[in-house]
């Protein structure tokens, strides 16, 4: 044995633990960094509105003439909550690109070698991206009067809560995908591949009832379906909707023949959020 090294006092060597307070402080800092970076890139702030606004007016007006009006309610009004959801979705999904950026420019290392848990870093990232997406989605609500959608304070609050839940789910999913993608080009390609199917199959753009069987299955597998339905429900609850309109422009989603309540949809979305967060933490690179 080597002679003069300090001896152990006996028993296993205990490692130090990071306190919950320190972990929360880390979550807050990672969140703040995401926000600083987002608002520093003005182009991104603006560009994340362009597509939804285009969809709302072009698709909304275009389809309204085809679908027609039912008891004073038209396709534009149906589409509006879907567009809010779309804004949240695309902002949330693309915010996960910061993980890929961080890897390419080395900053990921700075985070991974720090004496904090990966859970804190992933949570901060996810909450950061989700907050930005929620703000963007909420700003879209300003277009409601232009579409003739009536909003109450209660509806706005409910929408914000649902946006946040949806945003957390989507961002966590994005972080999970991003942590398995090595290159920037790869991430953009994967995101394009995921965003539109997830959007089209979520009920954001058309009602989900009476679809062919295979399409029904795809929409019910899509986690976003269960986030879009309650969002639309609370917006519709603030409208004066005659029964005929409510029947035609359905905001509900059925699963195995049963119509899901908002609470059930929210529960399912929460389940997906937890699942994606767990996957994101697990997939978030070990310091090689």
């Amino acid at each position: 044995m080597t002679a003069t090294v300090l001896q152990l006092p006996g028993g296993p060597l205990a490692d130090e633990r990071v306190s919950l307070g320190e972990e929360l402080r880390t979550v807050g800092m990672v969140w703040e960094r995401e926000a600083i970076r987002f608002f520093r890139t003005k182009a991104r702030v603006v560009s994340s509105f362009v597509q939804p606004v285009l969809f709302l007016f072009v698709l909304g007006y275009g389809m309204s003439t085809l679908v027609g009006e039912t008891a004073g309610f038209d396709f534009k009004k149906f589409l509006f909550p879907g567009i809010v959801a779309m804004t949240v979705m695309s902002t949330a999904l693309s915010s996960a690109i910061s993980i890929v950026w961080d890897r390419e420019f080395g900053f990921l290392r700075e985070m991974l070698v720090a004496p904090v848990s990966r859970t804190s870093i992933v949570s901060g990232k996810t909450l950061g991206g989700a907050s930005i997406a929620t703000v963007q989605g909420t700003i879209m609500l300003a277009l409601a009067p232009a579409i003739g959608v009536r909003l109450t304070w209660l509806a706005v609050l409910e929408v914000i809560g649902l946006e946040l839940l949806m945003a957390v789910t989507v961002t966590a999913f994005g972080v999970f995908v991003a942590s398995h993608v090595q290159r920037m080009e790869g991430f953009s390609a994967v995101m394009q591949l995921l965003l539109f199917p997830m959007l089209f199959l979520s009920g954001a753009l058309f009602p989900l009832n009476g679809l062919p069987g295979w399409l029904t299955v795809l929409t019910r597998v899509n986690p976003l379906t269960y986030a879009v339905a309650p969002l639309r429900s609370v917006v519709f609850a603030a409208q004066h909707m005659p029964p005929a309109a409510a029947a035609k422009f359905s905001s509900t989603v059925t699963l195995f023949g049963a119509t899901l309540s908002n609470a059930a949809c929210i529960g399912i979305t929460c389940g997906f959020a937890v699942l994606f967060l767990a996957l994101a933490v697990a997939g978030f690179g070990q310091p090689d």
Binding site: V5, L13, G28, R40, F107, V113, A114
Partner: protein, 342 residues
């Protein structure tokens, strides 16, 4: 031995040994990547407040050793303790006590210098009340106070590197690890970085572990370990190492070299005749000069004293020169740094 019972995995400092003791200690530390034996059982220790340099060519195992000490790579064998904590079993405790500056840049260039530092302060649990004072202090140490609110994307490579060094010591680590801190920097910037590092040592009594393949940088260290093919081939202060490979050389140019050589030889000096000068070995070159001039017996035109360099030491121990490899490497590193900075 009782140690075997209480510490079955070998000698490491005790968990509460934060205050005194060695900053770094390794015993037969090794790392294997499949068939490749990157580090072959190295043992060394670094005292508190020392500047310790790992000198060796590319692929010698320098970075792998640093990564093991920083808990980023698990050792395949042997033991290592940093600040008294076992790197394999107490990685969290180790990470809190080390500062790290990687070869590649790891700053967020869309944040300001201060925001980068604040982020780091939180991740390394610097108490809230001390954050501002620490940021002021480290920015002053690397002379970047006036760039505090500037985006890192506007920084030159040298400024970014100095900011990283400042960040590495923001949380007052026990040991600051610098992996090739000056790779890809121009000579002036390298000198600036070194001023910063030495100021840190002076003003913060920081223990610094650095890897380098620049001989002139190793000269700044208190102690140097020469590493080659995963093994330490020599350790000591730069002077000790140089003394190990041989004496100084005094070169004399005289009006009559043949006569001078004969006289010196007769006086008991070991003389080699060159084309235009005489080379004489002496333990202490400067001290020997007056005696040599006297013994030469003819008029001496010029005197030149050569001390062995770390280049000679490296050549002596490895049979190779480090220079040829590093020129090429520094160039590719510079190109890499440039692309990484967009």
């Amino acid at each position: 031995m009782t140690t075997a019972k209480t510490a079955p995995r070998g000698p490491v400092a005790r968990a509460s040994g934060d205050g005194a003791g060695l900053a770094v200690e390794t015993v037969s530390l090794s790392k294997r990547f499949g068939e490749m034996h990157a580090v072959k059982g190295i043992s060394f220790s670094i005292g508190r407040g020392e500047v310790f340099a790992f000198l060796g060519p590319n692929g010698a195992g320098k970075t792998t050793t640093v990564r093991m000490l920083c808990t980023l790579t698990r050792p395949s064998g042997g033991h290592a303790a940093v600040a008294g904590f076992d790197v394999a079993r107490q990685p969290e405790a180790v990470r809190r006590r080390i500062g790290l500056v990687f070869q590649e840049q790891t700053l967020d260039d869309r944040l300001t210098a201060e925001q980068n530092l604040r982020f780091h302060a939180v991740l390394y649990h610097v108490p809230r009340a001390e954050v501002k004072a620490r940021i002021d202090r480290v920015l002053r140490l690397v002379a970047l106070e006036d760039r505090r609110h500037d985006l890192v994307s506007t920084f030159s490579g040298g400024m970014a590197r100095r900011l990283e060094i400042a960040r590495g010591m923001l949380h007052t680590p026990v040991v600051l690890f610098l992996d090739e801190p000056t790779v890809g920097l121009d000579p002036q910037t390298r000198a600036l970085v070194w001023e910063d590092v030495l100021r840190l040592r002076r003003e913060e009594q920081m223990t610094i572990f650095l890897t380098t393949h620049y001989m002139d940088e190793a000269e700044y260290a208190d102690r140097v370990a020469i590493i080659d093919h995963g093994q330490i081939v020599a350790t000591g202060t730069p002077d000790e190492l140089k003394h190990q490979v041989g004496a100084d050389t005094v070169e004399l140019v005289t009006v009559d070299d043949a006569a001078a050589a004969a006289h010196l030889d007769a006086a008991g000096f070991r003389v080699r005749r060159g084309e235009e000068q005489l080379a004489i070995s002496a333990e202490d070159g400067e001290a020997a000069v007056p005696r040599l001039i006297e013994a030469a017996g003819v008029r001496v035109r010029s005197v030149d004293v050569h001390h062995p360099t770390l280049d000679d030491v490296f050549l002596h121990y490895t049979g190779r020169q480090i220079r040829d490899e590093h020129a090429e490497r520094a160039q590719s590193a510079m190109a890499r740094a440039r692309t990484a900075r967009r």
